[in-house]
């Protein structure tokens, strides 16, 4: 049983009823409109030992992403591409339902969905992360640490990972004879597009954006969609033990596509400010 499931038990059906009644009137528990996001704060570059980092507050949800760039050996089937690894850790500190130990299925899904948002949008030009094709490439570790959980980890982590990657700088490696060595020249992550994740929750017959912890505890299903800078859908993940009608999905995609643009501006602005300072 995952943490998400355990949480379900603790929220009684009365609470769900109250939330649905509010949604019927267009009201959420914290006063937001159905498609409003909570306040999004980004602190970029705080971890100077990482090549890139970003802490994101999305309401009470707090996540920190650090990026490390190492040298590695490419996978045999992609000899001329770098390596990208997303790893997530929801700390036991972050929620009373988390326990120490290896990542559970929720956390693995989180890492993999964020990974696909980055990978399938072709955010990073992976061919530019090859140094010596077939032998040495840059290996990019995107490590996610979730510090406080209050819903919508998918989006918060995605924003932090994207911002961290956009500000990642690392030592350029050069080929010297047979060996690959790190030079003192710095290079930036070769970013091609800015993927933005938008998550919808379905509660009863209502759909809302950016669910908080209580909303997630009573929701039926979740839909996470990621859009690139050209506003194309690049990755989708339905979650939760419920379902969507095809019409709900199409409608939510339209809403998400608009919202993605807004969020992309916020990320761009934060990155710009971080680069200035």
């Amino acid at each position: 049983m995952s943490a998400a499931e355990r949480k379900h038990e603790f929220v009684d059906s009365l609470r769900r009823r109250q939330i649905i009644d509010g949604l019927s009137l267009g009201k959420r528990t914290d006063g937001r409109g159905l498609t409003d996001y909570r306040e999004l704060k980004m602190e970029i570059g705080a971890i100077v030992k990482a090549n890139g980092s970003a802490m994101v507050h999305l309401g009470n949800t707090i996540v920190l992403v650090g990026v490390k760039v190492n040298l590695g050996t490419p996978f045999p089937d992609t000899p001329d591409e770098g390596i990208l690894t997303v790893n997530a850790d929801v700390l036991p500190i972050a929620s009373p339902y988390e326990e120490p130990g290896p990542p559970d299925e929720d956390t693995i899904e989180l890492a993999r969905v964020v990974d696909r948002g980055i990978r399938e949008s072709h955010m990073i030009d992976m061919s530019k992360l090859a140094i010596q094709p077939g032998k040495k490439v840059y290996s990019v570790f995107i490590d996610v640490t979730v510090l406080d959980v209050d819903g919508n980890l998918f989006d918060a982590v995605s924003y932090a990972a994207v911002a961290a990657l956009m500000t990642t700088r690392f030592k350029k490696a050069v080929v010297k004879g047979d060996e690959v060595i790190q030079s003192d020249k710095m290079m930036e992550m070769p970013v091609k597009t800015i993927p933005v994740s938008i998550t919808t929750a379905k509660i009863g017959s209502h759909t809302i954006l950016d669910p908080d912890g209580i909303e997630e505890a009573v929701m039926d299903a979740r839909l996470t969609t990621t859009f690139d800078s050209a506003n194309r859908l690049c990755a989708t993940q339905k979650g939760g033990e419920g379902w969507f009608t095809p019409e709900e999905i199409l409608r939510q995609m339209d809403i998400a596509r608009v919202k993605a643009k807004e969020i992309r501006s916020v990320i761009k602005e934060a990155v710009k400010n971080a680069k200035k300072s």
């Binding site: 693995i108 993999r112 299903a221 859908l233 690049c234 989708t236 339905k238 033990e241 009608t245 999905i249």
Partner: protein
């Protein structure tokens, strides 16, 4: 880059754009499991088995108001080109969750509080679309086990290759194509229970692909139902 669609609009294996690979299904093939199903879909060879409703172990996992649904998707080491370690990979753990959440909406879990229902899926040979084939087989195994459901769940993937929307990607189309979009649904309830996508799609492309997937689910549903009917008749004959 391989050319995946030729000038006659035919695919590498000779299929038309909206054509599915051959599908064969059979239920009730295992003796121990309470329900089971076997599916061949292209080169996919997948077996699904169900135990339950049964006592929940450990007990503190039991839910007071419904059955606990467990699901494990696992690939045999020899099922893929490069031998796979028998330990479950992160991909298998994610798929186990996604498949459980695709099946869960169909099962009347609240009829069996405090019990567990276990779904085990073993991929003996893997090809493109193994998750939707797994869902289709697992849903049939649940029915074979006599577990009450609102509807069957059935899946089909669609995708984009060489710029075109096509149905049911094979291994090579999945690897070399642009987009994979697996869908599962309860066909009689207008309900989508699994939706994933990988790779860029415009708004119109998504619409077209999504519709194609839902149509093809119907087609797979007929095969699934036929297999269940045959299984039921075979059982009746035995008894």
């Amino acid at each position: 880059m391989t050319e995946l669609i030729d000038k006659n609009n035919l695919r590498v294996d000779g299929r038309k754009l909206d054509e599915l690979r051959p599908i064969k299904m059979q239920v009730g093939i295992l003796k121990n499991a309470d329900g089971s199903a076997y599916i061949e879909w292209g080169k996919n060879k997948i077996i699904a088995g169900v135990y339950g409703p049964k006592e929940c172990h450990p007990k503190h996992m039991a839910l007071p108001d419904r059955a606990l649904l467990k699901c494990r998707y696992h690939m045999a080491p020899f099922s893929v080109d490069e031998r796979k370690s028998p330990q479950p990979s992160r991909r298998e753990i994610e798929l186990s969750k996604i498949i459980r959440e695709a099946l869960s909406p169909a099962i009347l879990l609240e009829e069996f509080p405090r019990t567990a229902i276990e779904i085990y899926i073993e991929v003996l040979q893997s090809d493109g679309g193994s998750r939707v084939a797994s869902i289709t087989a697992a849903s049939a195994a649940l029915a074979d086990a006599g577990i009450p459901m609102k509807d069957l769940v059935v899946g089909c993937a669609v995708g984009k290759i060489d710029g075109k929307i096509v149905a049911d990607l094979s291994d090579i189309e999945d690897k070399e194509g642009e987009v994979d979009l697996p869908v599962a649904c309860m066909p009689n309830l207008n309900s989508v229970t699994l939706l994933q996508s990988d790779g860029p799609l415009s708004k119109e492309e998504f619409k077209k692909a999504f519709k194609l997937a839902l149509d093809k689910c119907r087609y797979v549903y007929d095969i699934q139902r036929k297999a269940l009917l045959e299984g039921y008749l075979a059982k009746t004959k035995e008894a």
